[in-house]
Symmetry: C2
Subunit: 213 residues, 2 copies
């Protein structure tokens, strides 16, 4: 820790600060509506200075999309490989997924909504990473269903339904609301694991005995 922990984009190295400010603006106004002058103004430089760090506006977008896609893969997928029971791993994963999505909402929303502005090969690269993340979740659910931990007719469909459900949180959650994000994340992962995936509460995956209510 050679520096004080930076909590604002302005305290980051300039290159990272530019990306963070750009992601925030793209999130708030849409990629097409935001000009390089606006990004530069928020960063505190002239527009031409941005081109010292990034080749073009689409390059900015590309770095944002690529970076956040890799972050989700690196930070969250390992949870699914832990030693805990399927239902517990899934619930942990979903809580972290929901919380990370909110923390990085400017980046992840940009990656999911503005890919169309990238060149085809760059868009395909990012889309591939996002798809790999989704498929890992689907594969985990398939394994859980095969092991009997999840009771679900169509694991692939349930997986995508589950992700769409939790991904919606960012569109309506507001910090000023009645519930904290942690409460929402816990309630949602419960809904997902016990209702949508049909996991049984408590007990090992192959237990047939206990049934509350």
């Amino acid at each position: 820790m050679t520096d004080a922990t930076p909590s604002e984009a302005d305290e980051l190295p300039r290159e990272a600060a530019i990306l963070d400010h750009a992601a925030r603006l793209f999130y708030e106004r849409g990629y097409g509506t935001v000009g390089m002058r606006t990004i530069a103004e928020v960063v505190g430089v002239r527009a031409s200075s941005l081109y010292h760090y990034f080749a073009s506006k689409t390059d900015l977008l590309y770095q944002i999309c690529l970076g956040v896609a890799r972050d989700f893969i690196d930070e969250l997928l390992p949870i699914l490989s832990g030693p805990e029971p399927y239902a517990e791993r899934m619930a942990d994963f979903l809580r972290r997924h929901i919380e990370l999505r909110w923390q990085r909402r400017h980046w992840i929303s940009t990656a999911q909504q503005e890919l169309r502005a990238l060149a085809p090969d760059q868009a395909a690269e990012v889309a591939g990473l996002l798809r790999a993340y989704q498929r890992s979740v689907q594969a985990f659910i398939e394994q859980g269903a095969a092991s009997g931990a999840f009771q679900v007719a169509d694991p692939r469909l349930a997986g995508i339904a589950l992700l769409d459900m939790v991904n919606g949180v960012n569109s309506w959650y507001r910090p000023a609301g009645a519930r904290s994000l942690e409460e929402i994340a816990t309630a949602y992962s419960g809904l997902a694991v016990y209702n949508l995936l049909g996991a049984r509460r408590a007990g090992p995956p192959d237990a047939e005995s206990s049934r509350a209510s």
Copy 2:
């Protein structure tokens, strides 16, 4: 039926055709990235001609958002007031909701993603309509839970989870895929009603006896 049924935007009255082409372009490229010249080119006129029908680019966006929000309210909410059991009404509603969302994907996506480009009062008007639609679904689930048709701990949360889940279909469904939209809509409404909302399969809402498996 005084005219042949128009299936392309070009066969609609010009004003409607402009809106449909604009919605498609906004959907494909984002509001900020699409220029009035591009819209005009697709319609087959010069940019200045668009101003005979609409006052500005934001007016185009406003008409799109307002129109589709009203359509969903008028066409789908009546289903929830039918005489059928709660689970059946909900399943019907969700199937129709999923199918209408796909049919009108250019419009509804624009309404949900590009509201930020509208003037505050116009954005608030549209957001109010979309929120009213969502709240009607939540209220229906609350009634169903109170009547015992749905077994769900938090009806409000379940309602928003359910809508986020079905609203995700447009982001991954492709007509060339393995499953038809009708199959997906049926599978999804089953997941929503019987898993997420905990409705019991068949039998009247207050029956406590039958339990499959």
